[in-house]
Structure formats: structure tokens, C-alpha cells
Symmetry: C2
Subunit: 167 residues, 2 copies
DNA sequence: ACCTCCACTGGGCAGACTGCCCAGAAAATC
DNA sequence: GATTTTCTGGGCAGTCTGCCCAGTGGAGGT
């Protein structure tokens, strides 16, 4: 086996450093990365290829600030749904533009939905659309007031720095 | 006012097409974008600059697949917290590496927390850490079984295609 | 009707980067 | 010790980036 190849798919220290670097400055080129990491360009290239092949690195999607684009409101809904209709309900939710994320969960809720809207009136409309989906039996909605911890993975990467690799 | 300049910060059709293009193929260069959109290179460059200046486009962070990196489990917790300790609790949560996102919300929960873990045992540990934060009075935790709708903004962008711009 | 401002176009230029390839050194595995 | 994999350092052609400029066309203002 390769020193860096594991099935669990864990990161090598160099992988972690590379990903951290790209997290901070995503537009860096391969050459610049190699300079900063102190390794050869080909190495960086190979690491990136491997991360992508393994599925660990999905790509570099543009990150939009929804608030700056007019969708200033975010809300979460917990839905309980009728027996065996999870799949169907999920599809209906996916058809609503403002629904930005859905998770199926354990617990007394069955689906967790994240949605956005332009205004209170708009939010009302979106929420209605969501709760009116056929198969939804009970709902509980909350509006996001602030986001003390925005989506992040950095801490996990930093932790990988200490652990050599695998196991 | 300029035809494309609005204060609400809404997207022009060209902006939307550009962002959609970059959403689908994030590594495209400015030149390639200009070719596909049928506009001059300078125009694309100017649009991107403006989107960044406005704050609508935050950048192109690498997107990791946490599952492929060893963090196969995701869980959500809804926390109720003691009067006036939201701030403090949020800071404590931010200090936990596995906490990937926190929102303050209305409703009977006060904070919505997303966290990840490597295994069931690990998840147990993380949940305990979260729940034991001082100031947390009640909690409700759910494990994510699947993600029918992964985080997305594409539908919102596509909708912007129809609307010329602003209002 | 005229003028000004602004965005877009189309083009050019130097510098830098990418993708690709290769042979040898190093390191980890067997 | 032998083998396999990774990393290094270098080279090459093609392409892209950042920057600049003059000209065009439309929107709004006077």
C-alpha cells in the first residue's frame, strides 16, 4: 500500500496543508501552492488529482452571499411526514427553488429543511409552500436571526495536521 | 444610475449566467467564460470584480466531501439556552472542531447546531461536548440519515435569468 | 437636440502558469 | 536487499492573465 493511501480516506499532513492553503486563498495556482508548501510542482498536482479522484475534493464552487444577492432571510423547518412518503416529500421540496438544503433525520422530526427568502412576505409564501407539500403531517419552523458559526471545515483540517495520516 | 447597478444588490441576467457557468465548471478561466457567454473578456473580468466588490461573490473555496475524509456522520442539535447566554454559548460551540455551523433562531429552540463525527462513538463524544456547554438548558439531537437535497443555490440563480435586474 | 457618462468591444503585449513528459533520488514495503 | 511508489527538478509548447487603449452605443441629464 502507498504510505498515503488509505481506504478510510484520511488526509496526509501534506494534503491537509494543501487544503488549508486553498481554503484561505482558493485562487492560488498549482505553482504558487508548491512554492508555499515547499514541495515540487508535480507533487502538488499529483496530490490534487488524487484528492479529486478519491472524492475528497469536490471542486471549487463559487460561494455566493445570498444576503448580498437579495435573499436576506433564512429559515429552518422540521417536518414530520406520513409513513413511507419521505422520498416523495423530498422530491416535492427539491422542486421549490428557495429550498436550499434538506436532510432526512432520526428523532421526532423526519426532515430538516433550510430555505431562504427575500422578505417576510416572501418567506411566508415559501414556508406555506413547504408545509403544504402533500405528506407533511406536522411542522415546526424557525427563522435564523444570526449565524454565530458560518459553515466551516477549517478546524477539522487543522486537526489533521497533527495526525501523520491514516489510523 | 447604471443599467446594471442596483443598491438592493440583485443580479443582472449576465451576472446570473456567469455565476451559473461558474457553478457548473468552477475552474473555468475568465477567457473561457467570455467565450461561452458570448461577451468580451474585459466584460467578464469587470463583472467578476464587481460581484466580489459588492460582496455577492465571496470566492471559490475548495469543497470537501467530509464523508470521504473520514467524517461520515452528521448530526443536528437544537439547543435551548439560559437567558442572555446565547453569545457565550455560541463561542464555546465555536471552539469545538466538529461543530461545523451554528445558527441562532426564533422558535422554541435557540440555537441550531450542525456537527460531524468519524464514528458512532465519536459522535457520542461530540454530542456530549455540545450538550455539556455551560448555559445549555435543553437539547434535542438528530442524526442525519441522508441528504435528499444537498446545499444548493442553482435554482435561485436560474430564476434570476428571467428577471432583467433590480426590482 | 446635444452632451456626458458608462459599459462593452476587440485588439495587443509581456509575463506567468498549466498540462505533460522524463530521469534520477528518496523513501516505504516486502 | 529488491521492489514499488513518491517526490524532485527540469524542459517545452500552448494558453491564460493582468493591463492598457481607442472606438462604439445606449441612457440620462440639460
Amino acid at each position: 500500500m502507498a504510505p498515503t493511501g488509505g481506504e478510510g480516506g484520511v488526509l496526509d499532513e501534506l494534503d491537509a496543508r494543501l487544503l488549508l492553503l486553498l481554503t484561505d486563498e482558493p485562487r492560488l495556482g498549482v505553482l504558487e501552492c508548491s512554492r508555499r508548501l515547499g514541495v515540487a510542482r508535480g507533487t502538488v498536482q499529483a496530490r490534487l488529482d488524487r484528492l479529486v479522484r478519491r472524492g475528497a475534493l469536490r471542486g471549487f464552487p463559487p460561494q455566493l452571499d445570498l444576503a448580498a444577492v437579495g435573499y436576506g432571510l433564512t429559515a429552518f423547518a422540521i417536518l414530520e411526514i406520513a409513513q413511507g412518503r419521505r422520498q416523495q416529500v423530498a422530491e416535492r421540496l427539491a422542486a421549490i427553488d428557495e429550498v436550499c438544503e434538506v436532510h432526512a433525520t432520526t428523532g421526532q422530526g423526519d426532515l430538516l429543511v433550510r430555505m431562504v427568502a427575500r422578505s417576510n412576505a416572501d418567506l411566508q409564501r415559501v414556508i406555506d409552500e413547504v408545509v403544504d407539500v402533500e405528506g407533511v403531517t406536522r411542522t415546526s419552523t424557525s427563522i435564523a436571526l444570526s449565524t454565530p458559526v458560518p459553515p466551516r471545515v477549517r478546524p477539522l483540517l487543522e486537526r489533521s495536521l497533527g495526525e501523520p495520516a491514516e489510523r
